[in-house]
């Protein structure tokens, strides 16, 4: 398989994750184990550490685990972290047996659905479920008893994706595995609660579906902005709906209903009706992260492109939508340049294309035009004739704007 290269910062993330492997459980374990004391009694929260759940005096003949909520420094900020601790006994086949730890978390409030990992490193093979593994080093004896609680992992909450937002009842399963055979040497479970402030994956999926439904009227609004609903534009929307709303997998009945719904929407817009686009955008912003909003903007741009020319009303609406959907203005401009090059603009609105306005002072106009020029002059030698011609056209526009707006 031909791959691309990943730059440095992706690996930096991996390194941060590795730092979370707790130093106590390493090949030096044998020397540390003898110094462990009996587990202390549950204690009150102190400093910024917060005890989520502490077991009553644990049975040291078996393995026990518990989770404490801590805050950990990470890139100049503090993040919530689950400190996983164990005590009790681990039986190994022989002395100095190599062991590792595996941790999974389930959400009991959602019938035991797995908590997922946002970080690829901690994703179960073939699924997104969170599985944390780390080396424990060599267990000194065949029977090892930890008399005091000992941290074996620190799991950043940032890595986790819960099923839903709000109070989560979580069950953590911890296994100590043989590093050689992979068989379980000891296992423990504990439950604890955590208040998640971010949308869970079930909500994200539901919200995404809702946002996609809301994207359809926005796309129609762009199509109808110039007073005409071209068949080519409608076809772009239909194709997008088929590809994005899993119509191909749905039963025929659902597909027909969707088609009927689309037909009704077409009629609605053909009759000159319209919806409150700003409100729809606000709803979408509340439902989805920015990545999905870029997809919606992209759909709208392709709708405007469909009949080969974009009317000024369509371009104005596109700009408004981008603002309401709170996508980055520079990124939107870059998408515009790619999908709707200036040659497709029915009217060359120099101010909008180049980002200058009559109320800008001469210095600001100069800076903006120079910025645009620097961008396009580097593209005039493109090996793609279409880009070359677009760049030539943009350079001419910039020069004309310079002589028009500046003395």
């Amino acid at each position: 398989m031909v791959g691309l290269l990943i730059p440095v910062f992706v690996v930096a993330l991996g390194t941060a994750a590795m730092i979370a492997i707790i130093a106590g459980w390493n090949p030096k374990l044998g020397r540390l184990a003898g110094r462990f004391k009996l587990p202390s009694l549950p204690r009150q929260s102190s400093g910024f550490d917060d005890i989520i759940q502490l077991a009553s005096r644990p049975d040291l003949s078996v393995l026990n685990c518990r989770v404490r909520l801590t805050t950990e420094p990470d890139d100049n900020r503090y993040v919530d972290s689950f400190s996983v601790e164990v005590c009790g006994t681990i039986h190994a086949p022989e002395d100095t047996h190599h062991a590792c730890v595996r941790i999974e978390i389930m959400d009991m409030a959602e019938g035991g659905l797995p908590v997922r990992s946002r970080v690829k490193q901690w994703q179960k093979q073939g699924s997104a479920a969170f599985v944390y593994t780390a080396e424990l080093g060599k267990l000194p004896n065949a029977e090892n008893t930890l008399s005091d609680w000992m941290a074996v992992a620190k799991i950043h909450v940032d890595w986790l994706l819960f099923p839903r937002k709000g109070e989560r009842s979580l069950m953590l399963s911890l296994s100590v595995l043989s590093g050689e055979s992979g068989s379980e040497l000891a296992g423990a479970e504990c439950t604890f609660c955590y208040e998640s402030e971010t949308f869970g994956y079930i909500e994200l999926h539901e919200n995404l579906q809702r946002a996609k439904m809301l994207a359809v009227p926005l796309a129609f609004a762009v199509s109808a902005a110039d007073g005409k609903l071209y068949e080519s534009e409608v076809e772009v929307i239909r194709e997008w709906v088929r590809a994005n709303m899993a119509v191909s997998d749905a039963c025929e009945q659902v597909a027909k209903e969707l088609d009927r719904g689309l037909d009704k929407t077409v009629d609605f817009y053909r009759q000159g009706h319209h919806l409150d686009n700003e409100k729809i955008c606000r709803d979408i912003v509340g439902l989805t992260p920015v990545a999905e909003r870029y997809d919606i903007v992209e759909l709208c741009l392709y709708v405007a492109q469909a009949n080969g020319q974009a009317a000024p009303e369509e371009i104005n609406l596109l700009r408004q939508l981008a603002g309401w959907l709170e996508v980055d203005a520079e990124r939107f401009q870059a998408m515009m340049e790619k999908i709707l090059p200036v040659s497709m603009h029915e009217v060359e609105d120099v101010q909008a294309i180049l980002g200058v306005s009559a109320d800008m002072d001469e210095q600001k106009t100069r800076e903006q035009l120079n910025r645009e020029y620097r961008k396009w002059i580097a593209r005039v030698t493109s090996s793609d004739p279409e880009i070359q011609s677009q760049a030539d056209q943009m350079i001419k526009l910039i020069a004309e704007a310079r002589s028009a707006y500046m003395t």
Partner: protein, 516 residues
């Protein structure tokens, strides 16, 4: 001992200069005794074996534009550009080689056979166009020992013949291209700070504005079109060039228009011309601004403005520069010849560096105290796939490794990582361009780099780019763990450009072609 020459392969005119016995460059006139040779080609209708280059081609082109070629430099490196004559498709490289062949032939007639040459190119030419220019030289039977940027060549000549020092801006407005280069000059030490260029701005664009004025005058008088054929267009393009030159000397120029609806005498004033070219002059202004920004300089920080190229004779251009910089630009040398003269000096310096035994003693001593530090003319990078910070999605983007305007020679290294477990190869790309978006950069080389299998993702790969003083790129991709290495000594075959074998084959074919 080698004869050392420099060639200015221009859009409208070309020139050749040779280093004399004491290392001073001199223009070699062509067979017609002219110091400049029009970069025009005409394939003779009556004698298919003869190809006319220069003034004869200009004079013949109105007769049959299908067999005439001008301004081929604007198409240099374009894969799709061809001129079809008598069933043969001539590429821009081949056509340019005919011009070079004519220059070489005329010079050899006076000075004996010449081989080693440096050819000048606009500073903004990319690798593809530079390589195409070198290939054209090879096809013409020259040994191209180097490529020099036109403004650098001009500055080299100015600095070695005139008292120039401080921060100097070279304003090179030629027949078809426009370059601005900022140089720090201290005696004979020249350090290039930055270059910016526009590939489609020059004398021919000014001429086109005059053609538009002529067409408008005729339309207003007769209500019909003046130009009805390519031959008409060719005629009025030449007429426009003459009018432009006249308007550089006088306030008005008169001409007779012979059109299908009747004839009319028109008068074009300098004011009309200046109004027509105002957007083109505005375009030069932006490039000046951008070059000054890149150099971190204000207009007031420029000690001298050196003029290069015939279009700098336009009074509006000179007045404009005087107003902008607060002092009159320098035009004490012939603006049409200084590039070729500087290219000859550059050829001498290159020979001294690479093959000093071949350089006559007189030339060597004439050049020994000249030092030039050039810069990377473009940014070079590779394609990678990082996670976008805003969206959290993986995106394919261009990552710059060697930045534009880095002093030469230079080297830069960046670390990248494999994406997947068990990844057995990486597609490595060498890109040229300033954009992060891969759509807008040119992939100038693509290779498959094979890796050992059975490894986890994120294995480090070290990428090193080196750019030498001869403006050639060397790229190295190194798998850190296994020590495997892929070295790309820059060649452009993968991109559909000419391989060395193609160039040599074409050179043999062109040997049989007669140019006059």
């Amino acid at each position: 001992m080698a004869k050392i020459v420099g060639i200015d392969l221009g859009t409208t005119f070309s020139a050749l200069a040779i280093l004399n016995a004491i290392g001073k460059p001199e223009i070699v006139p062509n067979a017609d005794g002219e110091r400049l040779t029009p970069s025009a080609i005409f394939f003779d209708e009556d004698n298919a074996d003869i190809i006319r280059v220069g003034i004869e081609a200009i004079n013949s082109r109105h007769l049959n534009t299908e067999r005439a070629v001008r301004w081929v430099k604007r198409h240099m490196g374009e894969k799709n550009y061809h001129k079809k004559v008598d069933g043969k498709k001539w590429s821009a490289v081949e056509l340019s080689s005919l011009i070079l062949k004519k220059l070489k032939q005329d010079c050899s007639a006076e000075h004996g056979e010449i081989h080693e040459a440096v050819i000048s190119v606009p500073a903004h030419f990319d690798e593809v166009r530079r390589k195409a220019t070198m290939d054209a030289g090879t096809m013409a039977g020259l040994k191209v020992i180097g490529i020099v940027n036109e403004p650098v060549a001009a500055a080299l000549y100015y600095a070695t013949t005139r008292a120039v020092s401080g921060r100097v801006l070279v304003y090179d407005l030629g027949g078809g291209t426009f370059d601005v280069t900022i140089i720090d000059v201290k005696g004979h030490q020249m350090d290039i700070v930055c270059s910016q260029g526009d590939h489609a701005l020059g004398g021919v664009d000014f001429d086109q504005k005059i053609v538009e004025i002529l067409e408008k005058c005729y339309r207003e008088k007769f209500g019909s079109e003046l130009i009805g054929s390519e031959e008409d267009r060719a005629k009025y393009e030449d007429e426009a060039e003459d009018i432009k030159k006249t308007l550089s000397r006088r306030q008005t120029a008169k001409t007779m228009l012979y059109g299908p609806a009747g004839n009319v005498k028109v008068e074009i004033t300098r004011k009309m011309f200046e109004e027509a070219i105002s957007s083109l002059v505005a375009r030069t202004d932006i490039l000046l601004d951008v070059a000054l920004e890149e150099a971190g300089a204000e207009a007031s920080g420029i000690d001298k403005v050196l003029l290069v190229g015939g279009s700098t004779r336009i009074p509006m251009v000179q007045k404009h520069l005087e107003k902008k910089f607060g002092h009159a630009p320098e035009s004490t040398v012939n603006v049409d010849e200084c590039v070729a003269l500087g290219a000859a000096l550059h050829a001498g310096l290159t020979m001294l560096r690479e093959n000093p035994k071949e350089v006559p003693v007189g030339i060597a001593s004439g050049l020994e105290d000249i030092h030039l530090t050039d810069v990377c003319n473009h940014s070079y990078g590779t394609i990678c796939a990082p996670i976008d910070k805003e969206t959290g999605r993986r995106v394919v983007e261009n990552r710059i490794i060697l930045s534009k305007n880095t002093p030469l020679p230079c080297e830069s290294t960046q670390m990248f990582y494999t994406m997947t477990e068990g990844q057995k190869e990486v597609e490595v790309n060498v890109t040229q361009g300033e954009d992060r978006d891969v759509k807008y950069v040119n992939r100038i080389a693509t290779h498959k780099f094979e890796l050992p299998g059975g490894r986890p993702a994120k294995c480090p790969i070290k990428v090193t780019y080196r750019y030498d003083v001869n403006q050639r790129m060397h790229c190295k991709f190194e798998d850190i763990e296994s020590g495997r290495m892929l070295e790309v000594d820059f060649c452009l075959d993968q991109n559909g450009e000419l391989s060395q074998t193609d160039v040599n084959d074409m050179a043999r074919q062109l040997e049989a072609v007669k140019v006059e």
